[in-house]
Amino acid sequence: MSLVEIRNLSRRFGAVQAVDDVSFSFDTGQVFGFIGPNGAGKTTTMRILAGLDEPTSGDCRIAGLSTIDDADTVARRIGYMPDDFGTYPNTTVLEYLDFFARAYGLRGAKRQNALADVIDFCQLGGLSEKLVTTLSKGMRQRLGLGRTLIHDPEVLILDEPSAGLDPRARVEFRELIRLLAKQGKAVLISSHILADLQEICDAVAIIELGRVVTTGSVKEIKRQVQATVAERAREEGARAVIELRLAAPVERFPHILAEQAEVGDVEIHDTVASLSCPADPAAQAALLARLIAAGLPVCHFASRDHNLEDLFMHLTEGKVQ
């Protein structure tokens, strides 16, 4: 049994089915990515898991305890960081964390230790006397993570934690999440920046229109998609995107690519060209032979590898409710 299990979860708001029979699970030390377009039902699912909302049907379990039936017990084991959280005016970073530590019932030395640990982990040391309203987005997110960790929960639910962060802050945040997973936390994270998730997730679920389209490790999903792509390639007229790299700038040989009847949608960036051609492997081999014979200095000729963004685009249709 996994630490976190979501079983046949559904949530309806009037006529809108926000979450429809969603099931997935993940375990201690894992980072689980939750991917979907806006309005797909990610936040609703996360709020139900955090105990902030009740499902129409289905259940969420953490260590075997239902977040609906045993909401109060489970709440202590969960740290939830919403995509947009409020702060209090005229409150310093230390006071903000101290308030939540007190609210979680931490007292005396236990509270002082928790504060010191969190400030150290989230690198908030130099900011502890700063007013929270004056913090930058990156610092605010670190503060939010600190608040989420103050009671040392087993499960972290992070809703779009890196949205709006600059690249450096995103990398730092990613590192923190990796560290947390290494410490044995189970992390559920949603993000629109799919490259971030690809780097840190052990598994992902892709959700659209409230339904899980697919779930599994990024590798597994890649394999599934590639199998589908290969199957489609065998169909007559199917096309694929090829990445072509030359020893010289591609613009020197425009006529060679233009002469190939089966090549289309050419995009050139210096020595790299992306082009569309028949998906049939035999046709691709013939094309490569012709390009070399025509004097093109080819270094690399391959179907483009699917990253998480491709998989997401491939599996979803971009529909919202």
Partner: protein, 504 residues
Amino acid sequence: MAAVNDTAAAPAAAPAKRPSLIERVAGWTSERANPIVVRYARQQLRSRGFIILFSTVLGFATLFSITVGATAGEQGEGEAAFTLFGLLAAIWAFAVWVFEPIAAFRATANERDEKTWDLVRLTGLSPGKLIRGMFLASVLQGLLYSAAIAPFLVMAYLLRGIALEEILFVLFLIPVAGWCASAGAIFLGSVSGSKGARNALGVLVAIVSGFIWFSTLTVWLNFDFTGHFVIGGLMEGPGYVFLADFAVIWIGAMLVLGATILRHPASNRSTAPRVYAWVVFLNGVVWSLFASEPFLSEALVVASFFGALAAFLLGIFAITEDYVITPRQYRETRDMRWWQLPILFAPGAARGRLAYLSLVAAIAATVTVAYFLGPNGSRLREPMVFTILICAHGTLLITLCDAAARRWFARRLGNPVMRRVLFISVFASLAFIGSVITSLAGDRDPIAALTPIPGMWIIADRPGRFDDELLFIILAGGAAAFVLLIQAVRRTKVLERTVAELDA
């Protein structure tokens, strides 16, 4: 661990001084203090609004003292004392009647407005603790203003001409009224999750509290005359007791309702208001028992009257609940002990009916006892008739509106909120129609006597003239109560069967 080793290696230091009792008590209190109080106090002490107002209160108090002190010789010390006292009371009242409620409202509303509410809920901090924390923080802040103004009030007393009782009364009245205002503001701050509604309520709080302060300015600025009059009137007899009791009831009601609204919509939001309605009634009965013999029946009728008002409000909310309960409510009901009287105080419209009927029955019994204890043809008739009519009209109208909302208009009014809206609309419309009939046909019209509010006045004010109408309303109310009882018994059985299935 490194820190521990370093300490061990350091040269022998002087033995640590044992903290004093005061330090230990302060440390213990600080650790166990409501987190909301700690945070809010820190926030407010740093806020520009508080610093400016506190300085202004001190500045004006000093200025008034110097000016009045300098002119004391010309106008006489007694008059100077009243002038200074009135001015100080006015500025103090502004701080605790206007500024404090607005600050308390904003703090409560911001708790939800700034998306921090979910985070606070996750900590397990109960809404009750949150609301109490807000209130206590507001009280603390009010005490700071009181501390600032107190030396100047002593100075006013030392000028002579003003009685110590009057100073004590104002020292009691201003903060207590301020606490009542803050409690009301905190309740309003918790009422709505919508930003627009909160903004509108904020304006309302500012206008009402400003208006109350402004309208009492005459009292403070003419303290030598009105002060004697108002204070004399209140201090003769149990004025303090009534005020304190009313304040406690009001503050309690606001805090209980505020906390109830902030609870999770799927959780048990019924028990606290139901218990509180009973507390309002029983509180009055207990006070009555302390009344001396000739006033016992009168006090019991007054207690019943306030109990009837509480029962009326309880009825609106309890009877219009849904019959089915949520899983969370089921769980909370299951965890209730027998002495918590789940049959009355557990959620659901079936038990809501029993809670309402039981309170009305207790009120009816108390009124009957008061009737037989009281002197014949006594002055008790008017409040007694009011009490009976509140219960009868309430029972009749709530039963009819609830039945209409559940049967015929279920598609549009199929939730508790809309059922309450229907009831309040019908009640207000009938009261309005009664007022129109009364103004057109005079107060002798029997149809007007059948309407709520104007009808109650007409029947209570004309002993013997509208006895038939009174009897009709009582009988109709009794029949409605019987219907409610049948519904309660049937629905409770269904609910218990469902719960048994869930348990199985």
